[in-house]
Assembly symmetry: D2
Homo-oligomer: 478 residues x 4
C-alpha cells in the first residue's frame, strides 16, 4: 500500500477528457479559465434568440433560396452527376474546373485561374456586386484515389454545383435589390492530398483577404453542426518529409559509401526510442517512400513521409522537434545529410455558434434528415484551420448519404435521391445564411463579436498551454 500518494498524479494524468476540444487533462486544465470566459461570451450573444428571429417568415429570403434550388434542379445537379462520373484526383481536376468556371463565366463571374501557383485553383468574382459585406463560397472538386482509379467517395463532385447555385442566386439578389455586398467563389483543389495544403497556400497568397464570411458544404451521413470554440476533428497535424543523401558504393567495398537507408531506418528507430518520453496522446506514423535501388549498391538516397499529430499545436511543436531531431541524429550517426521539408499542417480552426446554430436551424427547416441533436466538437469550416482562424464561416453538412465518407457507397449516393436532397438542403441553407448576413447588420455584428471573442480566447488558450508544456531540464553528465 505504498503507492497511495501516486494516486493523485495518476488520476490527474489519466482523468476525463471533456466533450470540448480539449482532449487531454493537461489541455483541460490549461483551458479552464478560457472555457469559463467562452461560456460567458456565448451567453452574452443570445444565439437562440438570433436564430429564432432570422429563421422566421421572410418572403425575400424564401425567393432567393427558391432560386438556388431551381438552379440545382434544372442544371447543377446534372453537373454534379457529370463531375461525379468523371472523377479527377487532386491538382489535375482540369475537366471539373472547366465545367465550373465556364458556368461561372456564363453567369457574370470573372474567373482568375492558377491562384497561389496552383493550376486548378481559381477565384471567381461576380461583376455586378460591390462593397461589403464580402461573401465567400468555397468549393472543392478533387476525387479520391481508389485501388481501381479515382472516385468521388467524399462527394466533392457536388460541392462545386452546390456552391455555384448559392453564388448565382445570392449575386442576382444583391444586384437586383441593390443590396451592398460582393460575392466570391473560391475553387480550392486537391483537398485529399497534402502537400500542398491548397487552402493554406491560397490564404498565404492573400486570396481570401477581405472576406467577411465564408460558407461551404460537405457530404455527410448525418446532419450536424459544430459547437462554438476552437478545435479540429482529428488532432493538429504536421506533415513532414525527410530525404537523406549518402554516398554510393559497391556492396563489396561498402566503406567507400555512406548508407542513406541506414539513415532513414534510424530515423524510425530514433522516434521509437522517445515514444515513451512523449505524451501518450501523440500519434507519429511514417512510411519509407524511397528505400534504396539495388541490393548490391549502398543506397545513397532514401526518403520517408510522416504525419505527426497531437491534440494541440503547442505540444505538437515539441513532438515535431523530437522527430526532426531524430532525422538530424540519423544523419549525424550515419555520415549522411538530411533535408527536412515541413510540407503541410492542419490546425485547430474556429467555429461560431451564430453561424452554426443558424445553419442547423435552416437545415432542419429545409428537410434535412438524420439530425444529430447535440453539437459536435468545435472545428473550422475547412480542414487546415488556417482560413477559419482569420475569417468567420460555416461548413454546412446535411445528410447526403447513408454511408460513411470515403466509401464507394457514398460515391453511389452521389446520383441517388439521398445525395441530391442533401446537396439541395446544403445549397438552400448556405443561401439563406448569406442572405441574412447581407441583409441584417445586427447579425453580422454578432458573428463578428463572437469570432473576435473566440479568437482572443484561442490566443489565451495557446499561451496557457505554452506555460504548461515545459521541457524537462537535463543537466550535464558528470
Amino acid at each position: 500500500m505504498t503507492r497511495v500518494i501516486a494516486l493523485a498524479a495518476l488520476l490527474l494524468s489519466l482523468s476525463p477528457v471533456g466533450a470540448a476540444a480539449q482532449e487531454t487533462d493537461t489541455e483541460k486544465a490549461a483551458a479552464r479559465d478560457v472555457m469559463r470566459k467562452m461560456a460567458e461570451l456565448e451567453q452574452s450573444l443570445d444565439v437562440p434568440g438570433l436564430v429564432a428571429k432570422l429563421t422566421g417568415p421572410n418572403a425575400a429570403r424564401d425567393a432567393v433560396v427558391a432560386r438556388a434550388r431551381a438552379l440545382l434542379e434544372t442544371e447543377l445537379l446534372a453537373m454534379a452527376d457529370d463531375i461525379a462520373t468523371h472523377p479527377e484526383i487532386g491538382f489535375v481536376e482540369k475537366r471539373s474546373v472547366e465545367k465550373l468556371t465556364a458556368y461561372l463565366r456564363q453567369h457574370d463571374f470573372e474567373v482568375e485561374m492558377g491562384v497561389a501557383k496552383l493550376p486548378t485553383a481559381f477565384v471567381a468574382k461576380y461583376h455586378g456586386s460591390s462593397g461589403a459585406p464580402n461573401l465567400g463560397i468555397i468549393v472543392e472538386y478533387d476525387a479520391l484515389r481508389g485501388t481501381s482509379g479515382p472516385f468521388h467517395g467524399d462527394q466533392h463532385s457536388a460541392q462545386g454545383p452546390v456552391g455555384l447555385a448559392v453564388a448565382v442566386a445570392i449575386s442576382e439578389f444583391l444586384a437586383k435589390s441593390h443590396t451592398a455586398g460582393s460575392v466570391t467563389v473560391f475553387g480550392t483543389p486537391g483537398e485529399e492530398m497534402m502537400p500542398p495544403n491548397a487552402k493554406t497556400d491560397m490564404h498565404l497568397a492573400h486570396a481570401f483577404d477581405g472576406m467577411d464570411v465564408i460558407v461551404r458544404s460537405h457530404s455527410s451521413a448525418q446532419t450536424s453542426r459544430p459547437a462554438p470554440g476552437f478545435g479540429t476533428c482529428c488532432m493538429n497535424i504536421d506533415g513532414v518529409k525527410y530525404t537523406f543523401a549518402g554516398a554510393p558504393a559497391h556492396q563489396l567495398t561498402s566503406w567507400n559509401g555512406r548508407n542513406a537507408l541506414e539513415a532513414v531506418i534510424h530515423l524510425f528507430n530514433n522516434i521509437d526510442a522517445v515514444r515513451s518520453s512523449i505524451r501518450p496522446e501523440a500519434r507519429v506514423q511514417g512510411v519509407i517512400t524511397e528505400g534504396g535501388a539495388a541490393p548490391n549498391v549502398t543506397p545513397d538516397r532514401t526518403a520517408a513521409d510522416f504525419y505527426i499529430r497531437y491534440p494541440d499545436e503547442v505540444y505538437l511543436a515539441q513532438v515535431t522537434e523530437f522527430v526532426d531531431n531524430a532525422a538530424r541524429a540519423a544523419a549525424l550517426a550515419t555520415g549522411t545529410k538530411v533535408k527536412i521539408d515541413h510540407y503541410g499542417k492542419d490546425r485547430d480552426g474556429i467555429s461560431e455558434a451564430a453561424l452554426a446554430e443558424l445553419a442547423f436551424a435552416y437545415m432542419k427547416k429545409f428537410g434535412a434528415t438524420n439530425v444529430q441533436p447535440q453539437p459536435g466538437k468545435p472545428q473550422g469550416f475547412e480542414e487546415t484551420g488556417s482560413v477559419s482562424r482569420d475569417i468567420p464561416g460555416i461548413g454546412v453538412s446535411a445528410q447526403s448519404s447513408s454511408a460513411p465518407n470515403h466509401t464507394y457507397e457514398m460515391d453511389a449516393d452521389n446520383l441517388k435521391e439521398i445525395g441530391h436532397r442533401g446537396f439541395t438542403v446544403d445549397a438552400q441553407t448556405m443561401t439563406a445564411i448569406l442572405f441574412d448576413f447581407a441583409t441584417d447588420a445586427s447579425y453580422r455584428g454578432a458573428v463578428r463579436r463572437e469570432f473576435d471573442g473566440l479568437k482572443a480566447l484561442f490566443g489565451e488558450y495557446l499561451a496557457a498551454l505554452k506555460k504548461t508544456y515545459t521541457v524537462p531540464a537535463v543537466g550535464d553528465p558528470k
Copy 2:
C-alpha cells in the same frame, strides 16, 4: 473536412475515464453492465445503516479499544520508535521481527517463523482463542533503501506495534468474554522489494487460508478510505527479468562469440518497435542490470529488469506477451539464449464498503485529522491484490504524517505527535472493527455478501474484457 467520420472513433478512444477503477474507455465500456449490478449490490446492503448502528454507544467495545490504546501508550509506541530508529531493509528485518515476535510470545501467541520459505515472515496465533470467526492482522516492518542507508520513510516501523496492540486487546477480550473467534498476526516482510511478493508467496503457501477478515494499518498524509469494487492504485503490474546468455570471444575475433549485450539492447529496441501497436495506456519500462564486463570481450551474459503496467490484467497479458516476444526475438536474431523470469505481479484487489465505511466512521470518531470526504479508488487492503481477492479486509489509514509517503519527513514524523496520534487512531479503529466483526453476526454476513458479490462481478468484468481485447488478424504475406 474529410475526417468527420473518424471523429466517432477518436472520441471513443479518448473519451472520459470514470472515477471508478476503469481507467480507459475500453474498460468502461466493458464494465458498464458490471457497474450497474455493483450499484444495485451496494444499495441492497444499506451500509450507512449498518455503520450508524455499529458506531453507536457500546461500552464493551470502548473497553477493548481503550485497552489497545493503553498498550500503545505504555509499551508499543516506544517499540515503534525503537524500530523506526533501527531501520532494516526487506527480507533482513531480523531485529525488528525479534522485537515483535518476542512481544507476541509474551502475550500468549505461538509464533511460526520462516513461513513460505521467507526467513523474516511469521504467523502468530493466540493460544487462548478458538473457532470462527478467524480474525487476521497483517503487519509489515521493512524500511526503505535511501541513498544514505535504510530509513522508515513509509512508517512500516509502526505497523507491527499497532497490529500487536490490536491483536493483544482483541485476543484478551475474546478469551475473557468467551466469545468465539481466533486471532492471527501475519508478519509480512519486504513489501518494498519485489521479488518476491511476500504476501503472494505466503498466500500460495496457504498461510492466510481460513481467515474471515483481515485488517492492517498504513501510514498516510490524509485520512481516507477506498470506494467498494476492484482496483489498484497504479495499474496492474508484471515484474519480469530477462537474462541472456551468449558466447564470449576476444574483440579481435568477435565472430567466435555471440553477443548477449546486443541481445539485451534489441530487447529494448523490439519493445520500442511495437509501442505504437500497443494501447497508449500501457507503461513498459526497464533497466539493464548487467551490461557486459569488459570492452574487449564479447559480452556473454546480460540482464534486464522490467515493470510492465496496464490498467487491467487482461490487456496486460497481451502487453507482457509483446515484451516476452521482444526478448525471444532478440535471442533469435543474435544467436543467444534468453531466460524469462516472471518474478512478481500486482493485481487489482477487492475493497468492501461494509469494512471501509465502518473504518472511516471510526477513524473520524477517534479523532483522525485531514479527513478526505470522498472515497478513493477501489483497492485491496494489500498491494499485490492476491490476498484481497480471496479474503475480505480493510487497510486503515488515518493521517500519521504531514509529508508524502517515502520521504525523510514522514520518517521524522514517526517520532512526533502526528505519527503517534495516527498510529493510535489506526489501532483503535482496527480493534473496533474486529470487535464488531466478532460480536455481530449480521455484520459478518453483510461483509461476506458484499465480498462474494464483488468477486463475482470482478469475474464478469474480466470476462467482458477478454471479449473486448481481440488480437488483430495478420494474414500470410504473398
Copy 3:
C-alpha cells in the same frame, strides 16, 4: 606488453590471402591439403605440352576457323551491330532472340523455345550432327538497364553472333567430315537480372544434360584466362527477398494494427546487431523495396531485397541463416508474418587449365590485345557456378573494348574496330577449341580427367570448410 599472446591469434585471422580462390585465412588453412593435391593433379596433366601440340600447324582447323571468321565478317558482325543498337533488357529480349533463332533455323538448327519456362530461353540443335562428343555453346543477349533506357554496355549483343559463327562453322565441319559430334546452342536470357538465374533454372530443367564441353564468349577490356580450380569473381551470393504482412489500422488507433514497416526496419537492425558476430569478409546489403503506402495508416505490407555474400558457400550458409533469423525475429517481435524467398544464388564454379590455357594460346595466336600474362582467379564459364560444376567449359575473353564493363563506352565499342576484332578473336578461339575437342580424343580425356579431379577436390574442400566453421556454443542462461 600484455597482449603478446593475442598476436598469434591475430596474425592467423588477418594474414595473407592467397592468389588462389581462397580469400580468407580460414579458407586457406582448410584448403592446404586440397591445394597440394591440386598442384599434383595439374602437374600430372602436362597442360603446356598439350597446348603446344594442339596449337601447332593444322590446316583442317585453320579452315574451320576461317569459316567462322568469314561468317562474322559477311553477316554476323552486322547482326551484332543490329542487336547492339536495338537493346532489350532481360527476359523480354524478343527481337534479339528472333534474329538469332531465325539465323540458326536457316543453318539447319532445330530450335526449342521457352526452355525452363523462360519465354526467351532457347536450345538449338544442329540437324546434321550426331553422337558424342556433345559440344555446347552458350549465348546471352540481354542489355543493361540504364538511366536513359537499355544499352549494351556489357556487349551481350555480340555473344549471340559470335556463338552462331562458331556453331555453324563447327557443325558444317562435323557434318562434312563425318566427324562424330553434336552441336547445341543455348540461348540464356536475363543474365543481368536475378531472379531467376536463367542458367540455373535451365540446368535444373536438364537443358545442359549430356554436354561434354561448353564454350562461350564475354566482353572484356583485357585478354585473360582463369587459373584452374574453383572460385568465383565476387564471392558466393544468396539473393533473398523478405516480405512482411501486418494488419492495417488508422494512425489514430494504431494499436488495432500490426506494423509491417517496423518489421522490415528491424530486419535491418537485427542484421546490424550481429555484424560483429559474423566474419568480416561477409557482405550483407539490402534495400527496402516496399516501405508502406500512406503515413496515416499502419503499413500492413513491406518488403526488402538482399544480396548476402561470403567468399565460400559453407560459411555463407551460416550468414544467410543469420539474415533469415533476423527476419523471423523481426516478425516475432512485431506480431507480423514474414515470407522468405531464396530467389537466387551464385556459387563457385570450376575452371580447367586444359581449356583455359588452350584458349589463352589461341587468343594470342589470333591477335588478341592487352594480354594479361598471369592467370586470374579460378572461376567457372558462367556466373551462377551451377553449370560449370557439372560440365567442363571455358569462357573466352579477348579484349573487345578499351573501357570497363557496364559502361556507355563499352557500348560504343560494340560498333568499333576494337569490338569487332575482339569478337572475331573470341569466335576463332572457340571454334579452334571445339575442333580440337571433337577431333582429339586424348585432349578430351585430359579435360575430363582434370574436371573430375577438380570436382572431387572441390568436394574435399567443402568438407574441410564444414569442419572448420563450427558454430559457437551458447549455454543456457542462469
Copy 4:
C-alpha cells in the same frame, strides 16, 4: 560473367597482409615507399656486424652480468616470489612498491613517489652516477583481476626484482669504473587497467625526459624479439567512455523525463548502423557499465565503455569519430546530454634492430629456451606506444613459462625453475645491453641513427595514410 572488372578492386581489398606492421592492403600500398627506405636504412647499419662485435668475449661485461645474476639468486628472486604470492591489482600496489623502493633506497637510489599524480608510480635515481648516457629501466608490479582475487598470471611480480638487479649491477659498475652515465628506475603502475595509461601520463608529466635508452623485461612462453619498424601487437586502440544524462520521471508519467538508457542503447545501435560503412578491419566493442537504477523510474544516467581498434591510427581517427558521432546522435535523438571521455589510447611503437638483435643474441647466449628464429612484428618496448616513439628501447622476453600469458599456469611458473631461469636471462640480457650502451659510443650512435631514421619514416607513413583515407563526399539531398 559480368563481374570480371570488379575482380581487380576485390583483390586489392582482400589481398595479402604483409608480415610487417602493415596489416591491410591499404596500409601496405601506402607504406610501399617507406618500406623500401626502411630496408635501406637497416642495411646501412650493419646490425649483424654490430651484434657479433658486442657479444664477443668481454670480461668487464661478464662481471657486471654476473653481479646482476648474483643479486637475483641471493635476494631478488625471493622478492619476486614474495610479490607473486602477495598480488595487488593496478594502482593499489602499495605493498609491492614498498618492497621495491625500500630495496632501491638501500642501494643508494633516491626515490620520488606519486609521479604524474599516480600514488604508486615512482622514479628512482642512483645517487652515485652522473651525466649521459641516461639509462632507464621500467618495472611493473600490478596483478591481474581474477574471478577469485588478484593473481600474477602475467608475471609482473618479477619485473621489479629483475629491473632492480639490472639497476644495481649497472649503477655499481658505472660508479666503480667512473664510467659516465646515469641510471633511473621507473615504477609504472596499473598496466592492466587503463584508464589511465600510467606510462603515457608519466611521459606527459616529463618523467622519461632525457633518457637515451630504456630497457625492461616481460614474461613470455617463448624467447623472441620484434623486427625493426613501427607497430603494435593488437591494433591501435582508443579507449572511450560515454556518459549520458537525462531527466528522471516515474514510469507512469515518463513524458516528464528524458531516458538516458535509450540514449546509451542508441549509441550501440548507431554504431551498428555504420559497421558496413567502416573498413572491415576495425573492431569496435563496448559494454554498458551503467544501465539504469530501477525499472519504474526513467533512467537519468547511463554509461558505456568502448575499445575502438584499427590497424593504424590514421583511419582509427575516422572510426572513433563515427563512434563519437554515434553518441552525439544518440543524445540529440533522445533529448539527453552526453560526456565523451577519451580516457586512453594505445599506439604503434617503434622498435630498433640494433637493440632487438643484440638482446636476442644475449638471450641465446645466456641460455634462453624456446627460441623463435624469425623476428616478430615491430612493436615498442611498452604497450602504449607513447614512450617508445620518443625514446629508443627494448623489451626483453626470454621464456619464463610454459603457459600463455594471463593464465593461472603462468602464475604458478613464477615460483618454478622455468620462471626463475627466464627472469635471470632477462636480467643478464638487460645488464649486458646497458653495459654495451654505456661503454660503446659507436653502438650508441647506431641506436640513435636507427631510431631517428625509423621515426622519420613513421612520419612519412602516417602522412601517406592521411592521403589515402579520404572521406566519401556526401552531397546535399534534393
